[in-house]
Subunit: 449 residues, 2 copies
């Protein structure tokens, strides 16, 4: 809540949060959208979102405010690329420091760069990349940041085209930075993490994906904390693609988890990203302490290449009691080249009297579609040899993918089919471990970590 | 391994495990399938699977064996119903005891009644219901068991027709038993638990579902332990439908978890069944100790009714980056009346340029299809009001189902649409809490329990 004095001034002129206003402070004019007063800080300061994307607080002592009649400003240009502290230094607290290592931050949209849209009441992707790091002085203490915004989408609308664009941008940045941070919406963050894991070959540096479960206008916002820990990972000796997000409900540490073994397991908790059939690669504290939890490839002189060929004609099919296999025929009819079936148990698929999944699978494999099986339980490993039904699936041509996550299997299948027309070669590639997606032996203590 | 003496006799006649043989013990003839010698017990006893379904061990001292030429026996009659200890008492260790309460066990197939098929090397559903409890004397100490086998299927082939048949059998048994145990394959056990939760109305007694993750011929078999704990729940004061399976990796206790809030989360671990957005109703020890973890309806004089109307034309659709919404149109075209979309995040669905899930959803809802949203993350609650995209989904007619599991939502949707042709009434029913499927407030400590 704003102070009573500000409240009164707003009410007197019928001004509401989200309205465009001008604050006149002893003749100096500030113009922007009125933001709500967040929990902390000076209640007697009017918070404005300026047209350059930054929030500022103007102390209201000796000031007055009025509605603005100006037109809406143009949105921040996409593809904007700049070095923080060099461009518009007057607007940031960040100073460029030659002695510090360079780290690139690639923003792609999502909650971490979102704010409440006070016109509609919902949260939309509006924030400029600069703004995201503007209020995190801890970042500037450890590195110089290059900022890049190749595109902005809400993560549920991310496609393989975005992954390709992103992989190329990351590979390019890796050439001049110590490490790359990608900020991203959380809904499909684990899919993008898997895509970058496969698309970035000969990785010699850290690639860290981070998002926020709570938007920046909430007291419980996790974006800043995740970014600070991500910067620590980006500067670390771990050459891996992974997600760095809260490890617990508190702001105590983050976990950095392999990009092929991680899944969003909760709609809203800040510690929603959990390793599946794996432990985190490391626990990371904001002060730079890193505790490795397993062996991780070391930083090297390798120059990462973006190997982005991808076949988008792949789909995931869930199985459940009563699910009819004609959805397989549907995808085959539409020219899909690969399917991931979420199999129940150790690798079974249903048979209902004369309606058998096996027949549809056989039709698919006969047409050269690569049909894979992954565990619907998420945790655990498929073992189709235990039950006769599982062995029949295998004989019908289903390739069972060990302990690979269905979501990772989907991304990998698209990537593999982008690289070959040969089903046999694709099968061999699916069972080749490119980015830790298959573990020979599950680490103890990894179930429900 | 059998003793050297038995091995030699088998090898001399070319007999292998799974072959039909006769053991002649001082003129008394035993005929059956040769079973492998399991870890424990007399290595100098030949183990036979008799035609009545029981295993017996015949001490080989002074005995000889030979192949049998007899035809394969007929399988155990389905629908067989008997009271353990009354029928064929000479074949069981179980004595009927008038002073003990009656409990019904309904078997439906699955690993808990499976054994290795030595012909194919895989595990198949072969065991007779009697055999399952034959070697568990702890069961007979607490109750008299009525056994029932309405059908036998591997759980991946379970359909809503089976659920209806099962609900009727359970309701009938509840009239004459203190409680009912249903044994079931584990792959879709949680779907059947949800189905019975909705189909059994005015429940006044416990209904316990149990299965086994490891078959009985393995040292780590969990079926017996789960059954003993299930019997304790069946005799308890909890009037609820739930799953009773291992609570940890050890044989120390089981957890009894609400049938609408439970999911198989691991392919092979014995403690694979975990509560989602909930805690177990109770921890259960084999000696009868029960520790309730939340309030559970008490046993009452209510007479359960089977309310089994069900619409099988329902489907689950997963969403993921690049998934095309035409699969919605596919199901609508096939006359489906209800769809559960696994939404990402708090309730978002993708838009790819001009291809929007909203358009397909709108076409579906315009045709009277009830489209629901459930959380793909499994844990957490949907809140479509936070993001503009979520609110657009809601406006297009998607009914968001709070913290209901997608699998439970699917079962409930079929059950609700079996009861009404009115979409509005169905929507109201979907948001009515019938069996604990929606929790107003998530219990602390329930994430990744």
């Amino acid at each position: 809540m704003y102070s009573g004095k500000i409240q009164k001034a707003l009410e007197a002129q019928g001004i509401r949060v989200g309205d465009r206003i001008i604050v006149d402070k002893a003749g100096r004019m500030y113009e922007g959208l009125l933001m709500p007063r967040i929990e902390l800080g000076n209640r007697n300061a009017v918070v404005l979102k300026l047209d350059n994307g930054y929030n500022i607080g103007v102390d209201f002592t000796g000031a007055k405010l009025m509605p603005s009649k100006a037109a809406e400003p143009k949105p921040v240009k996409e593809e904007e690329e700049f070095e923080l502290g060099r461009v518009r230094p007057e607007l940031t607290k960040v100073k460029f420091d030659r002695k510090k290592p360079p780290v690139s931050i690639i923003t792609t949209g999502g909650t971490i760069t979102s704010r409440v849209d006070y016109k509609t009441g919902g949260v939309t992707a509006l924030m400029s990349p600069q703004e995201m790091v503007y209020n995190i002085p801890e970042l500037a203490q450890v590195a110089n940041f290059r900022m890049l915004n190749p595109f902005s989408v809400m993560s549920e609308s991310m496609t393989s085209g975005h992954w390709q664009q992103l992989a190329k941008a990351v590979a390019k940045e890796l050439r001049r930075s110590r490490g790359v941070i990608v900020t991203h919406g959380t809904d499909t963050l684990h899919f993008t993490a898997a895509a970058l894991s496969f698309m970035l070959r000969d990785l010699g540096k850290p690639v860290v994906l981070a998002g926020a479960q709570r938007s920046t206008d909430r007291g419980s916002s996790d974006g800043a904390f995740n970014l600070i820990c991500s910067a620590r990972v980006a500067l670390s000796d771990m050459a891996a693609v992974g997600i760095c997000m809260h490890g617990s409900m508190a702001d105590d540490y983050c976990i950095f988890t392999r990009g092929t073994k991680v899944r969003k397991m909760h709609t809203s908790r800040r510690d929603a990203f959990r390793p599946i059939n794996d432990k985190p690669l490391a626990m990371v504290w904001p002060d730079g302490k890193i505790k490795k939890m397993q062996s991780v490839p070391k930083r090297s002189t390798g120059v990462a290449k973006a190997d982005t060929a991808f076949e988008p004609k792949v789909a995931i099919i869930k199985s459940y009691p009563g699910c009819m296999p004609d959805v397989i025929d549907f995808y085959v009819g539409r020219g899909y080249r690969g399917l991931v079936l979420e199999a129940t148990g150790l690798g079974q698929l249903p048979t209902y009297g004369k309606v058998s999944w096996l027949k549809s699978i056989k039709r698919a494999t006969d047409k050269g579609v690569l049909v894979c099986g992954a565990a619907e339980t998420l945790y655990g490993r498929l073992n189709p040899n235990v039950y006769s039904e599982g062995r029949q699936c295998k004989e019908a041509g289903v390739l069972f993918l060990e302990d690979m996550l269905p979501e990772t299997a989907y991304v990998k299948l698209g990537w593999v089919l982008g690289h070959t027309r040969s089903v046999e070669k694709a099968k061999a590639m699916m069972l080749t471990n490119y980015a830790g997606e298959i573990t020979a032996r599950t680490l103890p203590g990894s179930f429900l970590y």
